[in-house]
């Protein structure tokens, strides 16, 4: 399999020989940029885009002061991250609104990108914002595409305008718009058939629809898993239809989603939404900064932190973080932490958000993310006495045997857990000495902490 190391650990390798130097030399940067380049290419960012990007970052990185608290690797990642975010549009972009309603939105894209589903999701999002959208079924080619939109519309109680599959999509769009005007809809979402960007006849049809309904938004739906060709697709659609924005679909997969960057780079149009799941309400505003770290293989730390902030008691988290740093971590804390983590949702989804975790998960057979396994771990810890939890060193052979019997597990499992717990503690100790006394505090510190630990290929005890 393709075992991708995380960019941060790769950069650490590059810079490990840099100790003692005060500045990052050009040669160091060149070597580091090679790693950055690979990371971006592995994420499916288009190679031309990568080339320009690297040139830009290189300029900034040469002559960097190596400060004490940060490794040069971190500083470079920071620059790369910022530049990437910038490239993807900086801040969020909002949906256009027509001066005179209805606002017309046209959905276009390749086959199977997810136009119909996204249309439904978008309608639902608008409805939630107290709008009155109308869906127009303009895909007359794919069997049952109209039916799909009707079912979607029905499930969220939004009307779907359809004229069957014997009328030209141009007519359908025109009549749909009229229907919206007559019935007081303030948004019209026109679903169109998927087509190849090189299919002249079908592209002409889109142009016709465009000319007739004069849309305020032309949204290109792009599959987040698209490879290098994303550039050509986006460029071609943009040239012919003047896109106003992009929707990234299927972003809930384990793709790094470099296509996002490519598309933005060639069209110059912002990515307005990201589809994050199969449920009808799984359409979210796009966050460039999160996408940047995802493309770099650094996980979606921000989303994770956001989730954590919603689910975790801030005080407890701060205390936990202090304990982690001072390596006072006990089995009691461990148990508590497990509980907290469980509150955040299904474990495999959380793991995906952690830097490097996605790959570790698929790479290591012994680290199956199994909720039942979690239960077993919990049982083991709960079978320890208070004193044992506080001071794991007490756990000699006979105590371990008792714990195994008490938790219904085997002594091998108990041993493994204790071993992993010790490793984890050691890691924390190392890490806290790395951070120094002036290390960042609070959640931010926790985040860096996680990164440091994961960079060393850490195994979670569960």
């Amino acid at each position: 399999m393709a075992a991708f190391e995380s960019l941060s650990s790769r950069l650490q390798n590059v810079f490990s020989k840099l100790k003692g130097k005060g500045k990052v030399s050009e040669a160091d940067v060149t070597e580091a940029m090679r790693e950055v380049r690979l990371a971006l290419l592995e994420a499916d960012v288009n190679f031309k885009v990568v080339k320009d990007f690297i040139a830009k970052v290189k300029e900034q990185a040469i002559g960097l002061e190596v400060s004490k608290s940060f490794t040069p690797g971190m500083v470079i990642i920071d620059i790369v991250n910022k530049e990437l975010t910038e490239l993807m549009g900086g801040t969020q972009a909002k949906l256009a609104k027509a001066n005179k309603p209805p606002t017309v939105i046209m959905m276009v894209g390749l086959q199977g990108a997810g136009k119909t589903t996204t249309s439904g999701k978008l309608a639902r999002l608008l409805k939630k914002g107290n709008h009155k959208p109308l869906l127009v079924a303009g895909d007359i080619y794919r069997p049952a595409a109209i039916k799909q939109l009707q079912v979607l519309g029905g499930s969220i109680d939004i009307p779907v305008f359809s004229m069957g599959d014997q009328v030209s999509p141009v007519e359908i769009a025109k009549n749909g718009l009229q229907h919206a005007k007559d019935n007081g809809h303030d948004y019209v979402i026109i679903d169109t058939a998927g087509r190849l960007h090189i299919d002249e006849a079908l592209m002409e049809e889109l142009k016709q629809i465009h000319a007739n309904v004069k849309p305020d938004e032309v949204l290109l739906v792009v599959d987040a898993m698209t490879g290098q060709d994303a550039v050509n697709v986006a460029q071609s659609f943009h040239e012919q239809l003047q896109l106003t924005g992009v929707v990234l679909s299927k972003l809930d997969g384990d793709t790094r989603g470099g296509a996002a960057l490519s598309v933005k780079a060639v069209t110059g149009q912002p990515i307005k939404f990201a589809a994050m799941g199969e449920k009808i309400d799984a359409l979210e505003p796009f966050h460039p900064e999160r996408m940047a770290s995802r493309i770099l293989g650094m996980g979606d730390m921000l989303s994770l932190i956001e989730k954590a902030q919603a689910g975790i008691d801030a005080e407890k988290a701060a205390e936990m973080e202090r304990k982690m740093r001072t390596a006072e971590f006990t089995f009691d804390d461990f148990l508590e932490q497990m509980e907290q983590v469980r509150k955040l949702g299904p474990l495999d989804q959380l793991m995906d958000m952690l830097p490097g975790m996605g790959k570790m998960k698929s790479g290591m057979k012994d680290m199956k993310v199994d909720e039942r396994q979690l239960g077993r771990v919990e049982a083991i810890v709960r079978s320890m006495t208070k004193a044992e939890k506080q001071n794991p060193e007490l756990l000699n052979h006979s105590r371990r045997k008792r714990v195994a019997a008490g938790s219904g597990t085997t002594i091998v499992e108990v041993n493994r857990l204790i071993k992993q717990f010790d490793d984890m503690k050691k890691m924390m100790k190392q890490f806290s000495s790395m951070m120094g006394p002036k290390g960042p505090k609070g959640l931010k510190g926790g985040k860096k902490g996680l990164k440091g630990m994961l960079g060393k290929n850490m195994k979670f005890p569960f």
């Binding site: 399999m1 393709a2 690979l38 290419l41 592995e42 994420a43 499916d44 288009n46 190679f47 031309k48 080339k51 390749l110 086959q111 199977g112 990108a113 997810g114 589903t117 439904g120 794919r142 069997p143 049952a144 595409a145 109209i146 039916k147 799909q148 939109l149 009707q150 079912v151 979607l152 499930s155 190849l196 960007h197 090189i198 299919d199 599959d223 898993m225 698209t226 490879g227 290098q228 060709d229 994303a230 050509n232 697709v233 299927k250 809930d252 997969g253 384990d254 793709t255 790094r256 470099g258 296509a259 199969e278 299904p346 495999d348 995906d352 996605g358 698929s362 993310v369």
Partner: protein, 335 residues
Amino acid sequence: MSFFKKLKESIASKAEAVTNVFKEGLTKTRTAFVEAVEELITRRKKIDEDFYEELEEILIGADVGVNTVMTLIDDLRAEVKKRKIEDAAELQPVLSEKLVELLKGDDHAELTMAPPGETTVILFVGVNGVGKTTTIGKLAHRFKSEGKSVLLAAGDTFRAGAIEQLEVWGQRVGVEVIRQASGSDPAAVMFDAVQAAKQRNVDVLLCDTAGRLQNKTNLMEELNKIFRVIKREMPNAPHEVLMVLDATTGQNALSQARLFGEKSGVTGLVLTKLDGTAKGGIVVAIRNELNLPVKLVGLGEGMNDLQTFDSVQFVHALFAGLIKREEEEQESAQG
């Protein structure tokens, strides 16, 4: 005899028509990939770091995986050193040979079929929107026109309109679809379908499933259940588990192939939408890293646009430009 000549002769026995289908369907792939390499060789006379870098970019640009490309480039460097090649033009045959080697493979692209008189069960899996249902429609048409009796199982009970989509295909092709209500357990649909296939003694049963992203644990378990149910009801089945892959997919295809393989024992790939993209390089990456053969390719939207994948044909179509040129050179050398 030159390498390409050999290649050409090996396909001479095959129908010209099939070759043409491949040639046409792969026009885009060919221009993007082969011509870029040619252009690079003529433009850059010398083999230096820039040359390698540009070559790397061309290959990566065709979605050949990063790992695969790195290996290829390293091989090339070694070869260049060994043979003391300085001129880029001299590198061309070496490069072509390596590329063909990567694309070729001794896999049998033919679908595994049950012995005559028994039902062949083919299960289709893949992420959302790759073209599973359409592929099933096309394949049903193909089996039907070969005179086989076909049954379809509407296993996508999740996506709105998916069952109807398969039913439309069923009507078009003239085969029956086993279905349940939308939202029902897909494993139950498969159970029904396998029973029906046994009773009616059909030749081929094609099973559709809902598209799912490979990192969704519960959905992948559901797929595993479908697989188990089929296996339990008919011990030799499924005879093929085909993962349908959109040809525009990037590096994520590797993750797809791996995880679907784990849960449903994928035996081969169907590469769809190959006609419109400049890509297809991901086939090389998948073959190289996961050793899964491509069995079918979708080269267009028509009912007949599903072809058995033939790596020799594929290579020939891809390198048509190179082959032609070499022939001309040989002719002029002889004449």
